[in-house]
Amino acid sequence: MAKEVAKERSMILQKEMITGLFKELGNVKETGKKVVYTFVPGNISELILSFGMLPVYPEINALQSGMRKKSGDYIRDAEQHGHSEDVCTYVKCDVGMMLNGNIGPTGEKIPNPDLLLLSYTGCFTFLKWFETLERLYPGVPVALLHTPYQEAHKITPEMTAYMVKQLKEEVIPKMEKVSGNKYDEEKLKSLLRNSSKVEDYIVKIFDTTKNRPSPIDAYFAGVYYIGPINSGFRGTPEAVDYYGELYKELLVRIDKRLGPITPEGEMEEERFRLVVEGPPNWTHFREFWKLFYDMGAVIVASSYTKVGGVYDMGFRVNPDKPLESLAEYCMNCYTNLNLQQRVELLEKCIVDYHADGFLVNSIKSCNSFSAGQLMIMQQLERKLEIPTGFIESDLVDPRYFSYSNIKNRLESFFQMLEQRKMILTR
């Protein structure tokens, strides 16, 4: 441990991509490009990009504020403006950031939206969030895309038809009006072809954790890996290059039998393999991660990395059916799956990636993830007889990250895993 951390080429590529996007956002006054605010789950960036517009993701802004230790103040400011302590802290962080000038991670002001694209997938609070934003940016048009929930374990033709009609009659006309460009299906198809390639890579990348040692941490590092596809680069050639490069690097790591890269260098000994359910805490991200790698725990799969799309079960966007495909992509996001589907997906991860334990990081702010997690845990425990652990934190509210509490619980969990291993070895 504690080796010098060398930046891999994919890391440099990602940094360049994100910096470039924020630079582009900073220059919209000069370039005249229009800005669309939207969400990560069901982020139909290909459609936004096909109109030559730029996406902004309030959730990403919020998590970056959390990582930059700014979210605490933003949340406090939002609460002073009447927001309850009980509600989603992403919303409050975003409101607070807006009240403080909407300064992005690069120090530049994030431009105001020209369109609010409420692609409401798997999280009811998104709807409330955009009701708030609509009032903070009066006069900005809202395009609502309601994504039906996979309540019956499947996507029905009626669900797809409902979404396609919304795309055709609500979303696309508003995008045409705001951007001044006509809908170009060929351009969209070409972007979707790239997305399909990226989705293939993503599956392969997260599948590398089948190796021992796992070359990646599919949660803490995983959130960086899903960064490009969830922050505006769906459908771009840059995304294809990035994921191609990342996959190549991972093949080398597998070949050399190297463990995951952590903020303190390569993890040398893989002691525990875990599957994690729930988003991470962003305000203490490094400390949180360290609690795991210090104990030799690597996350071999996480539900959070599927929040912007689930590709493990075979779904890929189909460029030949662009709008149907966008609809199905939205409906396939993790939190849009019903509880039983979530249990099945997690079960598959635990089995396929040979996990020693299952851990829930329950997020105070996120009912979409959290409500039902205890039952998910119970189901997996019963079905697979796997040790389960439970910790609680929040997305971006530092008041809800209790280091010692989490550490105590994790230490007990790891002790349990250790003892189980000893028993199984005997």
Binding site: D86, F124, T125, Y162, L339, V343, G372, L374, M375
Partner: protein, 387 residues
């Protein structure tokens, strides 16, 4: 002939009967009857009625059920109602139910539908995705299909074909129900001393768990009783209580507000019973379409419906004006994202228009009202003294 006091006592017993005795009796009176539970807020009960079924509103255990097992299913920061619903399910209170409907109002209720699936409750579980698109050929078509899937489930159980005639008849009964409730609210807003808000609450809530025909009789009787002058007006302010659209406040809290110097002349308790504003067409050859159209065009406002193009603050102001309200009490359940995220928007409007308001949180089993009584009392006094 029952007095108002007796009717209210009967309704209170029915409303909080967690064994759902009347629904069970109704079902056993005839073969082929189906009982389907539905969660807040709104579900078009007409369609179940037309299929020889009874739609029973499930509003949690309130303050009548001790929660032990339910707490093991939810983290501390999830609202209270789902844990009491799980407790009721695990304690077999829903054993006579054939199925459950979960209207899409929030993530917690959505995921509760999955928990019911995993718990193996009932013969069918339907998460009813209410459209957020209000165009007939987009959201309307989708919603109609959603309703049809509910009917298909009931058909599988009892084989009852829902004809236009049957459905139009059911719509007529529920139109009458809504009309009677509207009239009750109208009288109460003019003469709030004739019947307390808690009594009205019990009378309306009883309708969630008994056949609509029986409820209509109760409502008609109550109306005739309060049509005549009774009691004396007191020096109280007129308030609108808002935020309780799903998890219900304990009746003690409603009483406390009125005891602390207020007349509640408008509220969003039991909003589902008043969701459709006006009548649904009973003469259509396609009554399912009529129900769909009513949802798209006649829905009231609620924290669970996106309000683009129809801002909730404007509708709140309209309600305040129509009900001649002196102040607003924002009372929402703890950890309720939809209600609590509305509050800054609505409270800003109140501030801008100089409408007095207070806010506090509750849960369905809140048992201590002293602090709330003091807060509401001060609010009432301040309006009486200074406005």
């Amino acid at each position: 002939m029952e007095t108002l006091k007796e009717i209210v006592a009967r309704c209170e017993e029915l409303a909080f009967d967690l064994s759902f005795k009347r629904a069970g009796e109704w079902k056993s009176e005839q073969t082929g009857r189906v009982v389907a539970g539905y969660m807040p807020v709104y579900f078009p009960r007409e369609i179940i009625h037309a299929a020889n079924g009874l739609a029973v509103g499930i509003l949690g255990g309130g303050d009548k059920k001790l929660i032990i097992k339910g707490d093991a299913y939810y983290q501390s920061y999830i609202c209270h109602m789902p844990r009491s619903i799980v407790e009721l399910a695990l304690d077999k209170h829903f054993d006579g139910f054939d199925g459950f409907i979960f209207p899409s109002i929030c993530d917690v209720i959505r995921n509760l539908s999955g928990m019911f699936q995993l718990l193996g409750q009932g013969k069918f579980i339907k998460y009813l995705d209410l459209p957020q698109n209000f165009k007939q050929h987009i959201g309307g078509t989708f919603y109609r299909h959603e309703l049809q899937t509910v009917l298909d489930e009931i058909y599988k159980l009892n084989g009852v074909e829902v004809t236009a005639e049957r459905l139009n008849h059911s719509i007529g009964l529920f139109n009458l129900n809504r009309r009677l409730i509207r009239q009750l609210y109208q009288i109460r807003q003019e003469f709030p001393w004739r019947m307390t808000a808690a009594d009205l609450y019990h009378v309306v809530r009883a309708g969630n768990v008994i056949p609509v025909e029986e409820h209509n009789e109760i409502l008609a009787r109550v109306l005739s009783l309060i049509a005549e002058e009774a009691g004396e007006p007191l020096d109280k302010i007129r308030v609108l209580v808002m935020g309780a659209f799903c998890e219900q406040p304990p009746a003690g809290l409603i009483r406390t507000i009125e005891l602390a110097g207020c007349y509640i002349v408008e509220d969003d308790f039991l909003l589902g019973s008043r969701w459709i504003q006006g009548d649904i067409d009973t003469t259509s050859a396609d009554p399912l379409e009529a129900i769909t159209t009513a949802y798209l065009e006649k829905s009231t406002f609620s924290s669970s419906v996106y309000d683009v193009g129809n801002p909730k603050e404007a509708r709140l102001l309209d309600l305040i004006r129509r009900r001649k309200v002196d102040g607003v009490i924002f009372a929402a359940p703890s950890f309720c994202d939809p209600a609590l995220l509305d509050h800054p928007i609505l409270q800003k409007e109140c501030n801008d228009k100089k409408i007095r308001f207070i806010s506090f949180l509750y849960s369905e089993n809140t048992g201590q009202f002293k602090v709330i009584k003091e807060q509401v009392g001060t609010f009432s006094d301040s309006i009486k003294l200074w406005d």
